[in-house]
Amino acid sequence: MNVNFSEEELAFERDVKAFFKDKYPDDIRQKQDRGINLEKEDMVRWQKILNDQGWAAVNWPVEYGGTGWTPVQKYIFANESAANNAPAVVPFGMKMVAPIIYTFGNEQQKQRFLPDILASNVWWAQGYSEPGAGSDLASLKMRADRDGNEYILNGTKTWTTLGHLAEWIFCLVRTSSDVQRRQEGISFVLVDMATPGVTVRPIITIEGEREVNEVHFENVRIPVENLVGEEGKGWTYGKVLLQHERTNIAGVANSKYRLGKLKERTSKNIHGATPLLEDHAFRRKVGALEIEIKALEYTELRTLAAVAVGKAPGPESSILKVKGTELQQALDELFMEAAGYYALPFVRDQYRLDFPTDDKIGYSTETRSALRYFNNRKASIYGGSNEIQKNIVAKHVLGL
């Protein structure tokens, strides 16, 4: 055990730093730093730059175009990416469906889907939740009925993040109701969203933006080749994916970056006022949060190290999800507290690049703070709510 980086690791860190300095587009950096929403085009462009470098698929096996990095390399990369405030990859293709395809898919599916995910040519959405099936995912009702060489899909998926921008969606669907356990009879299918019968309707979230959707399927016909793995085994695959998703949600590197920003922002002295960071009560809260983040950073490193020696992320990933989202939300609260009255303005236009700087109200970190706080209450709800994670830990880690 050793807390320091080796020579090779230090060299890798220098490479990564140089890459971000040279290749991270300035316009995207500006938008990110000013809290302006990215266009799909921005995110795709950045992913393609990463892909040209061979760094798009951090976790994939080398044979499919992954990096083959050690946990420490992944850690270094994640930190540099966060330190530059670079956009995180939209997870649904790269981090969610791809691992299912390369683990459980057939050769033809791998060849057909993985290259386009790697190059960000095709965007994916995740179709798990339904109006009646949230925490109790296994109660899902969307059907896939076999008809010759096709499945006919009928049902509704909801909360589909970025579904309006995606070309494909992966869904858990019911292929059989004649089963002993509800988890049986669920299959994992891939659907081209341009197929007739698919409609996407917006759901506006609490802060006023379109981020999620309801997706309806009415007699949507897909070829049976779009079934991944065995019919009726989708639940098992989906569960593996959820564990990947949970490890991803923790976002420790990003929390570290934001904590740094919070300290920077609150140590500024405006118009003769004492910087907030010098306020004893506030400073202690920042300190306490920094300690928690440090602890989670090491917890994550330990999990990654275990994965590196061949263990799939197990129920322990739930711990990362719960703690990680709690810390993100604690940061949201501190940013909002720091903004004080300036958390209140709701001026959507000022988050556009062409909005005149003189007319801006407060700093973007201030005026977005409440909106972000509201929106990010989702973090303890999605990816399996934190209550569900605790149920999993109680059952599978503590054996209760």
């Binding site: 109660s139 405006i270 006022a273 209140l344 709701f346």
Partner: protein, 376 residues
């Protein structure tokens, strides 16, 4: 000690409560909030006709002669209905200053319009650097013959964009955070040198950034004495803190009710989610938070109504507790609603946002805990 209401108080409470039940459902509230004005002029007139806008004013001024208790009863109901009409800004903040300081002429010119609902006002008590320190004022007022010249800027002024007139605290002498040397000026919002940029706030209320560039104000527009405004501002913000906290308590109780209802109807794993003990305990915590908050609301309101020496401590204690438990109650309500809790179409999301905004108004939990702890 007596927690019962007088007949008059009960009638007032009932009349607001009926209005909320009959005329102000969530759909209506949303359509008002999303209109250009951001409030209903028609309802504002109704408020005036029913006498609500006159409640805290003396009978001699054409008011109802009510005090903090009456305001509390109304604000709780406004919280329950998530009312966006600018009662706090006009009646409590602006009205609170005018009631105390305006002379007969000034009352005639400004206060009457507030009471009869024909005028909108704003008290510009916040500056960007000041956070919650009311004496932190760098807007200057320089005497020039019979006039004063104001320069500076005011931040997040509630109701500032649509106000017909503004009450502006400015420094006529002293240093940045001195309590002495602050003067209140009342000016037409369209006076030369005033520029305003109005916007909606995250809780569907409205505010504005206000810049004062060589604004000339006649000395006759000073409210009260030159340089002696601080105690009035402080007292008015105390009342506003009480009023906003009463609204917060109304919101918290509503969030609890809505969460209970939702949890009983939402079925997962074949049972209502209200049957999970993990959630039951949290709803019990919400209830305890509501009750504790209501208790301090009553204590602080009664103490202030009596002019008790404890009043300031009580107000800080209350705002601290409502700040911390309100945050908890709001977060739990959203969490227990799952994805629905973060949807624009759901009322709880909007109750949560208003509750959060109140947490940030007039001093957050840290600020009031500091104030309280300094005097234990």
């Amino acid at each position: 000690m007596d927690f019962s209401l007088t007949e008059e108080q009960t009638m007032l409470q009932d009349s607001v409560s009926k209005f909320i039940d009959n005329d102000y459902d969530f759909e209506k509230r949303q359509s008002i909030a999303e209109s250009t004005k951001g409030y209903s002029e028609e309802f504002w007139q109704t408020f005036a006709e029913l006498g609500w806008t006159s409640v805290p004013f003396a009978e001699d001024d054409g008011g109802f002669g009510g005090g903090p208790l009456e305001i509390m009863l109304m604000m709780e109901q406004f919280g329950r209905g998530l009312v966006v009409e600018p009662f706090l800004a006009n009646i409590i903040l602006v009205g609170g200053v005018l009631r105390r300081l305006a002379n007969a002429e000034q009352k005639e010119q400004w206060l009457n319009g507030i009471i009869d609902g024909s005028k909108q006002g704003a008290l510009a008590f916040t500056e960007a650097q000041g956070r919650y320190t009311l004496s932190d004022i760098i807007t200057t007022a320089k005497a020039d013959g019979d006039n004063f010249v104001l320069n500076g800027s005011k931040a997040v002024v509630l109701n500032g964009g649509r106000a017909d007139f503004l009450i502006i605290p400015a420094r006529s002498s002293g240093k940045q955070r001195d309590e002495d040397g602050i003067t209140l000026f009342i000016v037409d919002a369209k006076s030369a040198g005033i520029s305003r940029s109005a916007y909606q706030t995250v809780d569907a209320h409205q505010a504005a950034e206000i810049t004062l560039n060589d604004v000339r104000v006649p000395a006759a527009n000073i409210l009260g004495e030159l340089g002696k405004a601080y105690p009035t501002i402080d007292a008015v913000i105390d009342e506003a803190t009480l009023a906003a906290s009463a609204e917060a308590v109304g919101i918290m109780q509503t969030l609890l009710l809505k969460t209970l209802e939702y949890s009983k109807s939402r079925v997962q794993f074949g049972v209502p989610i209200s049957s999970f003990q993990a959630l039951q305990h949290r709803m019990v915590d919400m209830l305890m938070g509501c009750e504790q908050s209501k208790s301090l609301l009553l204590w602080a309101t009664m103490a202030n109504a009596d002019g008790s020496t404890e009043a300031k401590q009580a107000i800080s204690a209350m705002k601290y507790l409502i700040g911390t438990t309100g945050r908890k109650v709001g977060q739990e309500a959203v969490q227990i609603h799952g994805g629905m809790g973060v949807s624009w179409e759901m009322d709880v999301a909007h109750y949560f946002k208003r509750l959060t905004a109140i947490e940030l108004l007039f001093g957050n939990a840290d600020f009031h805990l500091d104030k309280y702890a300094a005097n234990i």
